[in-house]
Symmetry: C2
Subunit: 438 residues, 2 copies
Amino acid sequence: MSEFSICRLDAGSPDFSQALEQLLAWESVADQNVISAVTEILREVKARGDAAVIEYTNRFDRRDLKSAGDFCLDRAALTDALERISAEKRAALETAAKRVRDYHEHQLQSSWQYREADGTVLGQQITPMERVGIYVPGGKASYPSSVLMNAIPARVAGVDEILMVVPAPDNQLSDLVLAAAAIAGVDRVFTIGGAQAVAALAYGTETVARVDKIVGPGNIFVASAKRAVFGQVAIDMIAGPSEILVICDGKTDPDWIAMDLLSQAEHDEQAQSILLSPDAAFLDAVANSLEKQLETLPREAIARRSIAGRGALILVRDIEQAIEVSNRIAPEHLEVSVDDPEQYLPRIRHAGAIFLGRYTAEALGDYCAGPNHVLPTSGTARFSSPLGVYDFQKRSSIIYCSPQGADTLGRVAATLAKGEGLDAHARSATYRVTEGGV
Amino acid sequence: MSEFSICRLDAGSPDFSQALEQLLAWESVADQNVISAVTEILREVKARGDAAVIEYTNRFDRRDLKSAGDFCLDRAALTDALERISAEKRAALETAAKRVRDYHEHQLQSSWQYREADGTVLGQQITPMERVGIYVPGGKASYPSSVLMNAIPARVAGVDEILMVVPAPDNQLSDLVLAAAAIAGVDRVFTIGGAQAVAALAYGTETVARVDKIVGPGNIFVASAKRAVFGQVAIDMIAGPSEILVICDGKTDPDWIAMDLLSQAEHDEQAQSILLSPDAAFLDAVANSLEKQLETLPREAIARRSIAGRGALILVRDIEQAIEVSNRIAPEHLEVSVDDPEQYLPRIRHAGAIFLGRYTAEALGDYCAGPNHVLPTSGTARFSSPLGVYDFQKRSSIIYCSPQGADTLGRVAATLAKGEGLDAHARSATYRVTEGGV
């Protein structure tokens, strides 16, 4: 058994700001070797299409692909997997999918227009993207819940075609992942991964149609490839390690709170679990519970390193101070485990997802509550949102001027265009102004 | 006088697809020298703050800054500029700002919640970002309209603080730009530009507070810097040259349509102007008008190179085929200069902004119609939207489980968590399940 350790801080101490900054410090490091490798892979796939995809896949995933057909799965392969999994797991996936779908339907945005007094119509037309690609990690980090969370919002948005890539290292594929793809309505699956899969989706190959957006998590090669193709296609955020911040008044069972912290810690050694409470004795009780419960976890080693390296128990003056600290951190997951938690919502400025009350374990949000589990990490909740239907819709402005509206607006536009030295702009507007106008 | 030339295509010819692809081909090239320079500037500003910003600004913009105070303008400097400009220009800016504000208020999104039968509450809380930075190019490409279009949506979203950076090469600053900043409600202006300004906004310095999002156009150094800091802060799209696609039935005055095409062409030699019409004689008439009107433009040289290098007149079978071609191009600006244009809206899938009818010159949208002029270029309307209020708001999911809801959901989550080998997730959920549960 390893020694138990976790960082303890006091928000009232003079060096707290600095200590908090150190605690949060984390940077994704893509070294020059990764960037060079990714640049080459992108260039090769762009130039040589399927042939390059096959070569890289055989090399990195130890496959024996002969032709592009060998990395394609159709809908039948997905529904076959659905038949193979247990009835209990299938029912759980279907329940989760239904709840995720119901929730995301609330996010659908509709086109709108309004007419001005002179007859000019202004508005915005909202339409779905045509084709999107979902990256699903293979091997051990292969999560069916992630398939549901990425594909269902796209389907609800009305995207025409959803492609999925998932690597099959040593020909291993997860039936649960394929079953989730069947349930979520994925159209085609390609068993490829890494930067070569990102390149295939971004540029298109003979077999893989070019997509408009690539979403889903991946390793440093995948993240670097997504950053490089950003702009040619849309991408979601580049995710950092998962985090939870729990605010508790000290009246929730310490074993519950400890297990909530451990549910983040077991993801990844870099994951971060932080508890804020005004009750020092409660912090001690949670520390004891963490120590006790860690030993019972199958993923003890990972969770222990995460808790020791990045976890923290922080004493605060009161719940208000806890929320101030939370707003500075902008956590991915925020649990507010207190009485009457809704009163605090207006003061919470930045968080990916907010779990209110003692009964709302963060894990429910990972699987089946309905909201998306793809959330902004590493403080990016300051400016990013959970993945949603809005990520798969886009907008076109609509302007339909009446002759009278064109007259009024043309005069203003001509004045401003001349101020910017853009004469053709001014004249184009002035043509629609009635005689004697400008 | 130069020779007039413009590409002519026929959408019915067998090699049309290939010709169209060649016409659209355009790639932003950031060579290795630019990337190295930007990487160094970002690193220096991150490490040394104001001192590095001052050094680069003095070197690149030929300034003589002694301290950070020398690059700061407060609100008074902006309102002074507003007093200096002509009454006509001020009125035009104020009219434009009011219309842009009115339109963008239609984009405000509100938080929502719903309660399920067992008492569980789900929803999304929508909040503004705290602080954003607007990049405004200096010198000749310094456009007051761009200040309005970037700042007003942020103000409407409720952003607490709007910073603006605008370089002042050789100490030159545009009164119109500063006046627009005053009208749009910009809080502070820093007279810095280039990658050093992007770095200051992204990382913060002693003087420039770190922002959550950086928006606004810039040269290749600015674009490369924005790509590099993407993820640490949000950025808007990296814009390519401006484009217009006009669909006309042949019944609009050819001089009007020619001037609409020229209003794009005068922006930039790389700008692209394309006309689609089923009326071959009309295409000839527009070609003649282009030739005739080009000679009269102050920016003739730029517009001529744009029309010759990237412009095109394309014969189509009918308006339906024109829309098909337009959907493939996904233009930034789309003019539909036909009778009863609204009938075509449902078939238009991708466009930044749609200008309907013969009276709606694209230039009206650049200045004062109301919709934003920051639009997706180079085919990115397939997956991007006009800049809007939604770009300055972000969302937090809300989950508040009732005890009964936690019981139901906990069982599903535990099954799925076990399937993914995440035991702590399963146990955290199971703690909230009533006895005898899982």
